[in-house]
């Protein structure tokens, strides 16, 4: 039994590396591993998937059903969500705040369904701050600020889905994307990190303006 779990953990090591783990504020290692595996099976082609894991991919329709959902409630009823929930560690699914956990993870599922290609390690906001062909950031500062001030889960999902569309649904880490939603959720339920650098506003802004800083200074 213990041998098996050791083998598991060495495999997990590769699924989410040290660097990426350190950049997470709201997901545990086990949750991060579950998220990545689930997203890979949901989004990748059988050829891509085969290089990463022996597990089979999910049928195409599973993701389509999830993407058609408008609300977190609707997502709860999809097979895609059930697959994700099944992968999550016991500590998560058996938490006493089961309602909130279900809603949080359905939001994560909804947002992740929009991602087509992954760049492990790269944050959503860093991608949004990247320079577009117009010379400006992919997402304007004004619209980025709206993400920072979302007040409801529905609004958050809607704004992140739009952000993903702007970003070409690629070039960011699925794990860090899920972390953004989980972090927002943590503060939404009233639990703000004592460390200011581990808060939703700072983490996103730091990535966004950090990416923008590399070309912004040349203008001024």
């Amino acid at each position: 039994m213990s041998e098996a779990s050791e083998a598991d953990s060495s495999q997990e090591w590769l699924v989410v590396d040290d660097q990426e783990l350190k950049s997470l504020a709201a997901l545990s290692l086990d949750e991060a591993v579950a998220v990545r595996r689930w997203w890979q099976r949901l989004a990748l082609s059988p050829v891509e998937l085969k290089q990463l894991t022996p597990q089979p991919g999910l049928p195409r329709g599973v993701r389509a059903a999830l993407r058609r959902c408008d609300t977190p409630d609707a997502a709860l009823l999809t097979q895609a969500f059930r697959e994700l929930w099944h992968l999550l560690p016991e500590a998560t699914v058996e938490s006493p705040f089961i309602e909130a956990q279900l809603e949080k993870w359905s939001c994560i599922a909804l947002v992740l369904a929009e991602l087509r290609n992954e760049t492990p390690g790269k944050a959503l906001a860093a991608r949004l701050g990247q320079q577009a062909s117009t010379g400006k950031p992919i997402m304007s500062e004004l619209r980025f600020q709206q993400i920072l001030t979302c007040r409801t889960p529905e609004e958050l999902v809607q704004r992140l889905r739009r952000a993903l569309a702007l970003a070409g649904r690629s070039e960011m880490s699925a794990v860090r994307l899920a972390d953004v939603v989980a972090l927002w959720w943590r503060e939404y339920s009233g639990e703000i990190s004592a460390r200011p650098t581990h808060r939703f506003g700072f983490m996103l802004a730091n990535d966004y303006f950090g990416a923008a800083a590399s070309y912004r200074h040349e203008d001024t």
Binding site: T197, G201, A205
Partner: protein, 564 residues
């Protein structure tokens, strides 16, 4: 009241925690462990009074004699006998010379409130303009003789600037006083005092001649003769005009206490008393001290590039007293940075420490409590006549052979130099996060520096003690060990970021200007890693000491592969 003839006026803290009023001759009583003055500035004043008294009444031939008195404190009656010849100069009232007061009764001067003796009392103009907002009038209307004596002495030795003709103290207005103190809380008052007593030869400044102290020597106690009035040029009092011990008994101000018989309680100590001081008379043009004075209890600073200029006493500053001042208070460097610690501190580090160590090695039972020493720094923070605050701070002293002091000084300057740079970068980036237009933001940001230095205070002294341990082991070392340099750097980096996050990121999240805040933090990180343009100091420190700027090297096999 005569201060030396056995009157029980000195508030003493006893071993059992009680406060007893005792005569100065009881200062060597084994049950007296400290003074217990009603005000913090009186406490420092009373220490200086007793030290002056010891230097005057028990002139020391050499350090050997000093050691004898340390091991075997004098009995109160021995001290009383030593004080007796000086008594006539320590009369607080009466028709003859009065302690630290004008010989002239100053009948032509208007009486003012006794609170004029307190440095933190508002002056006449403040009261007329009705601007005594923090420094309040009317708190002290009556003082007992004991408090009046302490107030008078404290005023005379600290005398701040007060306007035309109102003379500042011998060390300039509001100097710092540094005393060597035992670490142990139950050391006796005698031990606390005696560590700061010097052999007489060390008190003699250039141009001065040592003579046996006498109570009728007007070059020692100015008040036994007519005041040295300073209304004309050329009346300045220079060191060569006076007795070497006069530094302890300077009288820049002209005062007369009006002592009346009346049953009343003292506004300072609360004791009931039969004789009370409500009014004093003060006059301008007291002794005007000038020239290269070097008071034995005060640190000075000179400009090595301008050797002709006089050394200046170090003063209290609005930014407080922290470890960044420590090297200047402890390590002698007149040619480099120009700092000259107080004579008592240097004498302790260079002579007494060695002496006590040797004795202990010979098996002599010099109390173990004299092993660990602290530096007690006190003084006013004054802006001309305005009192901004009183500081009383303690810091560790280190045990170090004279031969290694140059190296330690250099190392400590590297430590504090880096800390100063990091503090100012942190302050600037917090400002950048707070304000849109930096040039318009002129607020006082020194609070940030103060917080930074206080957060790194313990680590600094820990680092210094590690360095001294190394110098004691290997005296020939000249390069600071890389791991010590690195751990200091990491402490500074951690505290800088913690302070920044606390000040710049902890406000209401929805009102945050995230762009300014995150940009500023990135700038600070760049500075701290030695990567940004302005961070030469950090880069140099890292390369000079040859360590990696991160706490641990990357362990992940993936990233290692990537790097190769």
């Amino acid at each position: 009241m005569n201060l030396l003839n056995g009157a029980r006026w000195l508030p003493c803290l006893m071993r059992d925690g009680s406060v007893e009023y005792r005569p100065p001759a009881d200062m060597a009583h084994p049950d007296v462990i400290n003074l217990a003055c009603p005000r913090a500035d009186f406490q420092a004043g009373a220490y200086q009074f007793l030290l002056g008294l010891l230097q005057t009444a028990l002139p020391l031939a050499d350090h050997g004699e000093w050691l004898d008195y340390l091991i075997e404190p004098p009995r109160p009656d021995t001290l009383q006998k030593a004080f007796a010849p000086l008594e006539s100069a320590f009369e607080l009232d009466g028709d003859g010379p009065r302690f630290m007061q004008d010989l002239d009764p100053l009948d032509d001067v208007k009486d003012t409130s006794v609170s004029a003796l307190l440095i933190d009392s508002p002056g006449a103009s403040t009261i007329t303009k009705n601007i005594d907002l923090f420094v309040k009038r009317g708190r002290v209307d009556a003082m007992c003789e004991a408090c009046a004596a302490l107030a008078l002495f404290t005023m005379q030795v600290n005398a701040p600037a007060g306007g035309a003709g109102i003379r500042v103290g011998l060390r300039g207005g509001g100097p710092l006083t540094t005393l060597v103190m035992p670490e142990s809380a139950d050391a006796t008052l005698w031990q606390r005092l005696w560590l700061n007593v010097l052999p007489s030869s060390r008190l003699v400044q250039q141009g001065q001649r040592w003579t046996e102290p006498r109570s009728d020597d007007p070059d020692l106690f100015f008040w036994i003769a007519d005041t040295r009035i300073s209304d004309k040029k050329g009346t300045e009092v220079l060191p060569e005009h006076v007795h070497p011990l006069h530094a302890y008994w300077s009288v820049p101000r002209r005062f007369r206490l009006l002592i009346e018989p009346d049953k009343c309680s003292c506004d300072l100590c609360g004791r009931e008393t039969d004789r009370i001081v409500r009014q004093v008379r003060g006059k301008k043009q007291g002794a005007n001290y000038d020239g290269p004075w070097q008071h034995p209890l005060t640190p000075y600073r000179r400009d090595p590039k301008k050797p002709a200029e006089l050394p200046l006493s170090q003063k209290g500053q609005p930014s407080g007293l922290g470890y960044r001042h420590w090297p200047g208070l402890v390590l002698n460097d007149p040619e480099g940075s120009g700092t000259m610690p107080a004579a008592v501190v240097l004498d302790y580090i260079n002579h007494k420490q060695k002496l006590v160590d040797e004795e202990r090695r010979w098996g002599e039972d010099v109390q173990a409590l004299l092993k660990q020493m602290r530096l007690w720094i006190s003084g006013y923070d004054l802006d001309k006549g305005k009192t901004r605050g009183w500081y009383s701070v303690e810091m560790p002293l280190v045990e170090l052979p004279e031969s290694s002091q140059d190296i330690l000084r250099e190392w400590v300057q590297q430590l504090t130099g880096l800390a100063q740079q990091v503090a100012s970068a942190t302050r600037n980036q917090i400002k950048a996060a707070w304000f849109k237009r930096l040039a318009d933001a002129k607020g006082d940001m020194s609070q940030v520096d103060k917080q930074f230095f206080s957060a790194t205070h313990d680590a600094f002294f820990h680092t210094v003690s590690r360095l001294t341990a190394i110098l004691q082991e290997k005296a020939e070392t000249t390069v600071m060990p890389a791991d010590i340099a690195q751990s200091w750097y990491l402490v500074l980096r951690r505290e800088a970021l913690a302070l920044f996050d606390d000040q710049a990121l902890s406000g209401a999240q929805e009102n945050m200007n995230w762009q300014r805040a995150t940009d500023a933090r990135r700038q600070l990180q760049g500075f701290l890693s030695g990567r940004s343009k302005g961070s030469k100091a950090v880069k140099d420190f890292i390369s000079q000491h040859g360590f990696a700027p991160t706490a641990q090297t990357e362990k992940s096999p993936l990233t290692q592969g990537g790097a190769a």
